[in-house]
């Protein structure tokens, strides 16, 4: 039987699907390589982040401008640091 945790993880992976190739690439890559080792809180933050708009994520992941990122700054920085 599928556990709730697996369901949640599948859901998060699907939501890494975005409208932009750049975000698909950054987020899916991060998910596949690092999501499973994140803490409970980091996982929750990552999932909340995925609810935001593509343009917003694009700005935070691709520019120096983290305006408005507030609580998300640690997870954004982690994703950026780990991007190959």
């Amino acid at each position: 039987m599928q556990t709730d945790e697996q369901d949640a993880s599948n859901r998060v992976r699907w939501r890494c699907r975005r409208g932009m190739l750049e975000l698909d690439s950054i987020l899916t890559d991060f998910f596949d390589r690092h999501y499973h080792v994140l803490s409970f809180n980091e996982k929750a933050l990552f999932e909340q982040l995925l609810q935001l708009e593509d343009q917003q994520l694009f700005q935070w992941f691709l520019s120096e401008n983290l305006e408005g990122a507030d609580d998300f700054i640690p997870i954004i920085q982690l994703v950026r640091e780990l991007h190959p």
Binding site: N10, W14, G19, E22, S25, F58, F61
Partner: protein, 589 residues
């Protein structure tokens, strides 16, 4: 598992610009409309479009006109575009853009308050004689995002019912040429549901993922095309794929044509501005197919950049800081993240990358899906419409002009809506034995993946398909390679029939979705390969080494590909309604 049935007037599959525009048109005139999208609608691929949307508003060039726009589009299409559809699109462009402005879309402005317009490739004044036109209306560098959000708000207001994170699996037919619904799956629960409708609109976007290198997001897998193909209807002009000259090497991310519009220059390993040789007039802003092919020729001639000579340089180092910051802010960031390049100091490594599918589901200018009877006569499929990148209406013919696609999706999304509104009263919901048989068949596909096991994993099948498409059906095409490519693809296609997925879960089973998507991509890839091998000429994006010239006598026609390897053709429409037809001419660059 019992299957829930739901009934709507209109089912729209796809929440990008085309699907949302069609939804808005039908919902706001009182129809009961459901829009199904595998991702949240504002995460549709339309959100990627940066550059803008074309309309001859004449805000910068007072002499611009929709007729000039029509001429450029026909010429850009290498005369494969249908002139009645192109006429309709260009004549509706200004009112469509102004309509979006009135809905609240935040276009960039000139100092006098009018909509700003920038230069894009292939745009001319005075029917090719008056120099570069400025016809592209941007909303900063986030035009697609602005459009989607504007349409989404309007749809919420019009009470369109959204089913997001639902995956459409197959069309359900109630007659040989009649569609009366779809089978879809809820991603969250794995539940299957039958949606009955008087009209089904496919607006599922492009399919660039069939190539190894593409600018397209992961969701662009040609699902609508797969559904149409399996239903026994044809796909049109599948050999016509646009390769964008400037995808970041190794990643695919697109550097917008705006970068060259603002003065960026392509250079080879000798630092030469090679486009001056290939297109002395339009240079770096020549049509995309011309620029892509020129880059490929340079690489073949050993003038590619880097240790392996496998990319070109896009040079922005001479542009003023203000231009980079104000007009092209995203480009600097992209180059830094994906190529580790500071654009003010170094050129960006770029390659021709699969960008846009000109072919697709054939429709007339009302968006009705077309098929052919055994005698080759056009007929339409009752209850089935298509709009946007998945459709081939055909306004782009053999080559799309930049910023014509956002225009197409809203113009024909609305046209579909109009046609449905005018005819929905005459259509009845239909559920008969044929419908049940068609549902059985669709459920059989689901069962194959859900219950099957022990076969090869789909991952290798996907990789092999992409590799063949990239190598044998990319920018350069030649009969021998394509023949071999088609044979290899046929083997890969057969392997898919024995593949399986190990994940049998219900909730968000992304493997199952990938399997469905792969079946759809395989239909797209296979019809592309068949049609590319069959078209023995070079036209627009379809460039063959062994047939380097355009052959109007034998090939001025659309290609059609059906399931079961049946092929056919259709005449190109040369009969616009309000202006004289534009006769065939050689393209000059």
């Amino acid at each position: 598992m019992t299957i829930v049935n739901e009934t709507y007037d209109v089912i729209i599959v796809g929440g990008g610009g085309a699907g949302q525009r069609a939804a808005l048109e039908t919902a706001s005139s009182g129809a009961n409309v459901a829009l199904i999208s595998k991702v949240f609608p504002t995460r549709s691929h339309t959100v990627s479009a940066q550059g803008g949307i074309n309309a001859a508003l004449g805000n910068i060039d007072k002499g611009d006109s929709w007729e000039c726009h029509m001429f450029d589009t026909i010429r850009g299409s290498d005369y494969l575009g249908d002139q009645d559809s192109i006429e309709y699109m260009c004549s509706q462009a200004s009112r469509t853009v102004i309509e979006l402005e009135h809905m609240g879309m935040p276009f960039s402005r000139n100092e006098d308050g009018t909509i700003y317009q920038r230069a894009f490739g292939g745009q001319t004044l005075d029917f090719g004689k008056g120099g570069q036109a400025h016809r592209t209306c941007p909303a900063a560098d986030r035009t697609g995002h602005a459009m989607l959000h504007t349409l989404f708000q309007q749809n919420v207001k019009a009470k369109t019912r959204f089913f997001h994170e639902w995956f459409a699996i197959d069309l359900l037919k109630s007659g040989p040429q009649k569609v009366s619904g779809i089978l879809a799956m809820c991603l969250e629960t794995g539940e299957l549901r039958v949606f009955h409708a008087k009209a089904v609109v496919l607006a599922t976007g492009g399919a660039g993922r069939i190539y190894a290198s593409t600018t397209n997001a992961y969701s662009c897998t040609g699902d609508g095309l797969g559904m149409v193909y399996r239903a026994g209807f044809p796909l049109q002009d599948m050999e016509m794929w646009q390769f964008h000259p400037t995808g970041v090497a190794g990643v695919g991310c697109l550097i917008t044509e705006g970068a060259r519009g603002e003065g960026g220059i392509l250079r080879n390993s000798e630092g030469e501005r090679y486009m001056e040789r290939y297109a002395p007039i339009q240079k770096d802003l020549a049509c995309r197919d011309v620029v892509s092919r020129s880059s490929a020729l340079e690489m073949k001639a050993g003038r590619g950049c880097g240790p392996r000579g496998d990319y070109m340089h896009l040079d922005l180092t001479h542009l003023p800081q203000e231009t980079l910051q104000e007009r092209l802010p995203g480009i600097s960031d992209l180059a830094r993240t994906f190529a580790n390049v500071d654009v003010s100091k170094e050129p960006i490594p770029v390659v021709p990358t699969c960008h846009y599918m000109m072919g697709g589901i054939p429709t007339n200018k009302y968006g009705q899906v077309l098929t052919q009877d055994k005698l080759g006569k056009d007929t339409f499929v009752e209850g089935l419409y298509a709009a946007g990148e998945c459709a081939c209406v055909s306004v782009h013919g053999a080559n799309r002009l930049g910023a014509n696609s956002l225009l197409e999706i809203v113009v024909f999304g609305r046209a579909v809506g109009h046609h449905i509104n005018d005819h929905i009263g005459d259509i009845a919901h239909e559920k008969n034995a044929e419908f049940d048989a068609s549902l059985e068949k669709a459920l059989g596909r689901v069962g194959f993946w859900r219950q099957g096991g022990g076969g090869e994993s789909i991952d290798e099948v996907i990789q092999d398909m992409k590799k063949i498409m990239q190598e044998d059906f990319g920018v350069f095409r030649d009969g021998k390679n394509m023949q071999e490519g088609l044979a290899k693809l046929d083997v890969v296609r057969r392997r898919l029939a024995h593949a399986s997925i190990s994940d049998k879960s219900l909730a968000f089973n992304t493997r199952l979705v990938s399997a469905f998507e792969l079946e759809n991509m395989m239909a797209v890839a296979y019809t592309t390969a068949m049609a590319a091998l069959a078209r023995k000429e070079s036209r627009g994006a379809h460039s063959r080494v062994d047939f380097p010239d355009r052959d109007d006598k034998n090939w001025h026609k659309h290609s059609l590909a059906f399931e079961g390897d049946r092929a056919s053709t259709r005449a190109v429409n040369m009969q616009p309604n309000h202006v004289d037809p534009f006769p065939l001419q050689e393209r000059e660059h």
